[in-house]
């Protein structure tokens, strides 16, 4: 096909027009490739963060269901346990009894309304987990009840450093009066913790958390195993089963609250597709399972990122296909005499069609290769910027097979599709056209201008639409439990579009809708 004299002729006579169409291919492919590569970085970052957060825990038990069940039971007045007892704490105690368990801790956090830089902001403070080795970048762990270890990202965003104090407002629901009682506290920053922290922005000692006049929200139980079993997958799975049995037994004995009341099936153990076990809504996951679950959770955000990238890409591809198809129409029209002459000396209609499509395919391959390179460079640049200004641990951009294949296929598909109609037209050229006198009219020169302006307007409108929807979305990407990282993403997405979002907190009410 490359050897076809028709194709050779086409390429030589395409000239500047082909360059313009090629640039359109390059840009649209680059958009998509950048989005795909950054998605890869994003997912690797998520994975690394989930791994960091799960580190130290052999199993994680989600205790939220227990809290809900207890609240429901209290409201219905059927509570067998006193409201002072935390069911997750009881479960942790029971799990600690198991032989293989070195430590089982029930973690919770409190909402604190803080004031910083003149902006009302929200801070989630949790128990300092003993099963996780804190990477203290500066200062020390909280030893006093009024000390707090802040997550570095949060501290930086709020201009807080070691030794600074922060005034926080607390809230506690009084079940007897049915009122929310407000209180306040002063916390001193004891140190800064680097690394990724999934649920909270700061850590207080368990005693410190108790001393705060605020409702504690249980999150999860972290279980660490003894000696050699620590980190052993098989041992983890065995313990997982044992814990499920413990939960089931406690439910049967009425030691743990359930939603289903005295239902016989309440204590049944289910195995989920990922291998995790569920008893009465309590998820029991091994380290790898909880990492996978968190990653899957966070991928929701990267899907949003992907949809923006692909949205831009789709517009770029659309505009590119208009440009390319227009270019090919003009090219075929301008070549009609040459085409007719080729027909006259023996080129078949099929040869002209194939040559035009091949011209498109070549343009697509060339533009695709350049687009992949450009997209890759852009992704490397963006990832570097993200590392410097957003998240130090953001994973570097890596060229993936998916990005390369998608980019090339897209480039070729767009150009080939755009070339099909003009190719059919080229095939319909009659050899007699070569014998007509030179064209008398030069054709209306103004129309391409109109088209270009229209195209630009359409593209600008489309981009504006995507920007708008991205902005709206960026306020809703925060998962149910707001945390430093989701805030980071929120404001990062904002800065991506040059829209200043408040550094923390103030947009949360909307986000949590």
């Amino acid at each position: 096909m490359i050897g076809s004299p028709v194709l050779r002729t086409n390429l030589r006579s395409g000239g500047k027009r082909l360059w313009a169409a090629g640039a359109a291919v390059v840009i649209s492919v680059a958009f998509v490739v950048t989005a795909l590569i950054l998605l890869g970085s994003f997912n690797r970052t998520m994975e690394a963060q989930a791994v960091a957060d799960a580190e130290g825990a052999d199993l994680v038990v989600n205790a939220e269901a227990l809290t809900w069940a207890q609240n429901a039971a209290e409201e219905a007045g059927t509570s067998e346990t006193s409201s002072g007892d935390r069911p997750d704490q009881q479960l942790a105690d029971a799990i600690s009894e198991l032989d293989a368990v070195a430590e089982a801790e029930a973690l919770s956090f409190v909402f604190l309304q803080g004031e910083s830089s003149g902006v009302d902001s929200m801070l989630l403070a949790g128990d300092l987990p003993e099963t996780r080795t804190m990477d203290v970048a500066e200062g020390s762990l909280p030893e006093q009840d009024d000390q707090i270890l802040l997550v570095t990202d949060f501290a930086e965003a709020n201009n807080l450093g070691v030794g600074d104090t922060m005034q926080v407002a607390t809230e506690r629901f009084n079940a007897e009066s049915g009122n929310v009682e407000e209180g306040s506290a002063e916390l001193t920053v004891s140190g800064l913790a680097s690394g990724y922290h999934r649920t909270v922005s700061g850590y207080v000692s368990s005693e410190g958390l108790e001393s705060l006049d605020a409702d504690q929200t249980p999150t999860s139980l972290r279980v660490a195993m003894t000696g050699e079993d620590h980190g052993d997958t098989q041992a983890q799975e065995e313990l997982q089963q044992q814990i499920a049995d413990v939960v089931a037994a406690m439910i049967d004995n009425g030691e743990l609250p359930t939603d289903t009341g005295s239902d016989d099936d309440a204590a049944q153990i289910f195995t989920q597709p990922d291998g995790s076990l569920v008893v009465a809504g309590v998820d029991i996951r091994t380290q790898q399972q909880i990492i996978d679950a968190w990653v899957a959770d966070l991928t929701g955000q990267s899907t949003a990122l992907l949809s923006i990238g692909l949205g831009f890409g789709a517009i770029a591809v659309f505009v590119a296909s208009l440009v390319i198809s227009n270019t090919f129409q003009v090219l075929v029209a301008s070549r009609s005499r040459t085409m007719a002459l080729l027909r006259a000396v023996g080129a078949t209609a099929g040869q002209l069609r194939r040559a035009t499509v091949a011209e498109g395919a070549l343009l697509g391959v060339g533009g695709g290769v350049l687009g992949v390179l450009l997209g890759w460079s852009a992704a490397v640049g963006i990832a570097t910027v993200a590392q410097r200004f957003w998240l130090e641990s953001f994973s570097s951009a890596q060229l993936s097979v998916l990005a390369v294949v998608t980019g090339l296929l897209l480039g070729v598909a767009v150009t080939v599709l755009a070339a099909v109609m003009p190719a059919l037209k080229a095939g319909r050229t009659s050899p007699m056209e070569a014998l007509r006198p030179v064209e008398i009219s030069a054709g209306p020169k103004r129309i391409p201008w109109v088209r270009t302006v229209l195209g630009v307007l359409l593209a600008a409108g489309g981009l504006g639409g995507v920007l708008l929807s991205a902005l709206i979305h960026s306020r809703c990407w925060v998962p149910q439990v707001p945390s430093s990282d989701s805030l980071g993403f929120c404001s990062w997405a904002g800065s991506w579009f040059h829209v200043p979002l408040p550094s923390w907190g103030s947009s949360l009410p909307e986000c949590r809708v």
Partner: protein
């Protein structure tokens, strides 16, 4: 120039006259109509003609008499409304009527050479690429290298092969077109006023080349011309008027042809009766 060409053609004629001359192209009862009703134009009206192989035939006639239309139809560039065309190729006779567009294209590529009045060349191709175009389009066998050299040499294009058409003079361009038509060794070369756009000297050169092709390579050439002197270079001349053959002359002199043309001009629109002979040379 015309003098030498005449002498050679006379010699050729005497040898050919002794053998039975095969028809390279034969057209029977061709009709072609453009438009309909009162506005209908009939460039070919039941035209029957036959052109002998290995000879140089000129076609003359007043403007609008259907010369170009006849060339296009015979060369398979256009289709007649009625009638038959038989082309004698080295793979046996082929009837052009009834071929599909694709088959017709193949016949054009493999068996027919065409030289137009102008715009014969692909601008994006070098002279050499233009010359070998039919075979590079997938025609039969590769171009015969020695024959190519010979033709190019004879046409004086050897040092022009890598130039693009716009770098060549009109005469050189037309010689490239002649080379393209000859190098593929087609069964017939059609030329529609090949010298029409050229000055005297360049025109004479092109005519000389066509004459040589017939004499040296045994090529069949059919050429439309308005120039009686050019037609006189050919072996015979077919006179057209009003879509019909009105006369065929063997070895006419330029003066004879000029006179015949004047006469043909006067009979345009009248029935082609009188001293007009039947359409055909055999």
């Amino acid at each position: 120039m015309s003098g030498t060409a005449r002498v050679r053609s006379v010699e050729t004629m005497t040898t050919l006259a002794k053998t039975t001359v095969q028809a390279a192209v034969r057209a029977e009862a061709l009709t072609k109509t453009y438009g309909a009703g009162n506005a209908a134009v009939r460039p070919l009206q039941n035209l029957t003609v036959s052109f002998p192989a290995g000879r140089f035939t000129a076609v003359m006639g007043p403007s609008g008499s259907g010369k170009s239309t006849l060339m296009h139809v015979l060369a398979g560039l256009d289709t007649p409304d009625g009638g038959d065309i038989t082309l004698a190729t080295d793979r046996g006779p082929i009837s052009l009527t009834g071929l599909t567009e694709k088959q017709l294209t193949r016949v054009r590529r493999d068996s027919i050479g065409f030289i137009f009045q102008a715009y014969n060349l692909i601008p994006a191709m070098t002279a050499e690429e233009n010359i070998v175009l039919p075979s590079s389009l997938g025609g039969r066998a590769q171009v015969d290298k020695t024959f190519f050299r010979h033709v190019v040499d004879r046409l004086g294009l050897t040092d022009r092969l890598h130039h693009r058409p716009f770098e060549l003079s009109g005469g050189q361009q037309q010689r490239v077109a002649v080379a393209r038509a000859l190098v593929a060794r087609p069964s017939v070369v059609f030329a529609d006023e090949p010298t029409g756009n050229l000055d005297q000297a360049s025109g004479a050169e092109v005519l000389d080349l066509l004459r040589t092709a017939v004499d040296e390579f045994g090529q069949t050439v059919i050429m439309v011309t308005h120039d009686a002197a050019a037609a006189a270079v050919a072996d015979s001349t077919v006179l057209l008027a009003d879509g019909r053959v009105v006369q065929t002359r063997e070895e006419p002199s330029a003066e004879e042809l000029a006179a015949a043309m004047l006469h043909a001009g006067s009979v345009v629109g009248a029935p082609a009766a009188g001293q007009a002979t039947d359409g055909g040379v055999s």
